[in-house]
Symmetry: none
Subunit: 222 residues, 2 copies
C-alpha cells in the first residue's frame, strides 16, 4: 500500500487525483495540500510514500516545497506534475530532488505507473521530456564547466581518433577497443599511435591522464 499526499492549488484537480488514486487498491490518499507551505508541513506530519506535487501554486511553489521536503530528510518521494513542459521547471524540479516529472496530460495508467515506480525508489520522467534530458546527458553530461571540445589538442583529432581516445580513457586494451568498434587490432594500433602523437602523449597512460585533465573522462565515484 502506497500512501500519497496530493498537492495542488485547484480543488477540482485534487478531487480528480483523489478519485483516481482511490479507484485502485494499491494507493491510499492520506492528505491534501493547497500550496507549498502546507505541503511541507503535511509531508512532515503524514510522512507519505509519495507526494504528488503541482508546480504552479500561489505562495511557495512546488519546486521550493520539493526542495524543503527533500532537505528535511523525509523518505517521501516527490512526483512533480505540471501542465507545462517548460525546461526550467524540469531542471529545477530535478535539481530540487524530485524523483519524477510528469505532464498532467498523462493517461491515468501512466500516472499510476509513475507513482508505483517512484514509490519503489525508481524515477520516472514523461517521455516527451526524457528526450530533451537525454540529449543533454548524452552530450557529455551537464555543465561541469570545461568543454572538452574547446581544447586545441582535441580539435586536431578526427572523430574516430576521438572515440579511440575515449576508449583509452576507459582503460580498454587495444584488443577490447578492436572488439568494441569491430576493427582489427592493427587498425586500433594505428589510431592509437596517431592519437598519442597528436595529443603529445608518450604512451596510453599519459593519454588516460590527458583524458581526465581535459574532462573527456570523468572520475567514477563509488
Amino acid at each position: 500500500m502506497t500512501t500519497v499526499l496530493i498537492v495542488d492549488d485547484q480543488p477540482l484537480q485534487r478531487y480528480g487525483f483523489r478519485i483516481l488514486l482511490e479507484s485502485v487498491p494499491e494507493t491510499d490518499v492520506v492528505g491534501e495540500a493547497a500550496h507549498g507551505a502546507e505541503a511541507v508541513r503535511k509531508a512532515a506530519e503524514l510522512r507519505p510514500d509519495v507526494v504528488l506535487m503541482d508546480v504552479r501554486m500561489p505562495g511557495m511553489d512546488g519546486i521550493e516545497a520539493t526542495r524543503r521536503i527533500v532537505a528535511a530528510g523525509d523518505r517521501s518521494r516527490i512526483l512533480v506534475l505540471t501542465t507545462f513542459d517548460l525546461d526550467e521547471y524540469v531542471h529545477a524540479a530535478l535539481r530540487a530532488g524530485a524523483s519524477g516529472f510528469l505532464l498532467k496530460d498523462a493517461r491515468p495508467e501512466e500516472l499510476l505507473a509513475g507513482i508505483r515506480a517512484v514509490a519503489a525508489g525508481d524515477a520516472v520522467i514523461a517521455p516527451a521530456l526524457t528526450r530533451r534530458i537525454l540529449d543533454e546527458y548524452a552530450r557529455n553530461r551537464p555543465a561541469t564547466g570545461r568543454d572538452p571540445d574547446e581544447d586545441p589538442r582535441l580539435t586536431s583529432l578526427t572523430d574516430r581518433e576521438r572515440e579511440i581516445l575515449e576508449a583509452i580513457g576507459k582503460g580498454w586494451t587495444n584488443g577490447e577497443i578492436a572488439a568494441h568498434f569491430v576493427l582489427s587490432e592493427s587498425t586500433v594500433k594505428t589510431h592509437v599511435g596517431r592519437v598519442l602523437a597528436k595529443i603529445g602523449a608518450r604512451d596510453r597512460i599519459q593519454a588516460v591522464i590527458f583524458a581526465y585533465d581535459i574532462g573527456l573522462a570523468r572520475p567514477n565515484a563509488g
Copy 2:
C-alpha cells in the same frame, strides 16, 4: 502503424518479441536481424520506424550497430534492450544515439508503451535506470568531496605501496618511479604487482583510473 525491426542473436527471443508485437494492431514487424552487421544492413533497407536492439551479440554489438544506424541518418529510432543494467551499457547506448533503454524484464505493456513513445519521437528509459541518470544529471557534479582514506581498498595498502600508487597515478614508468624513490626497477615491479593485486586492477592503466575514481589523483585542468 509502427514498423519494427527486431535485432537479437537469440531466435527464441526474437520469436517472443514478434509474437508480442503482432498481437497488437499498431505495430508491424518488418524484419529480424541476428547480429549488428545485419541490423545495420536491414535498417538501411527496410527503414523501420523503430529498431528493437539487443546489446550483447556476437560480432558487432548493439551499441556499435546503433551508432552506425544513427550515423547513417535514417530516421529509425533505436530502442535498446538488455538483460543487464550495467551503467556502461546505458551510457554507451545513449551516447550512440539510442532513443530508449529498457530492461528485458519489462512487462509487455511497458515494452509496447516504449515503442509507442520512441516512434513518436520521445525517449524512454527503464525507471530503475532513470534513477541513476537523474542522480548524475540533477546533482551537477558534487565536487568529488571524497576522502581517499575512506576507500577500503586503500587501507590494505602499506605506506610504500600507497606512494607507488600515487606515482602510477602520475603516469610514471617503473624506471621513473625507481629513480624518484631511489630503488631498483625490480623492487618497483614487486611493489606495483602487489598494488595491482590489492586494488584489483589488471594493469597500471586500471590503477590510474582507480586513482582518479577514489580521488587519490585529481584532474589537472589546463
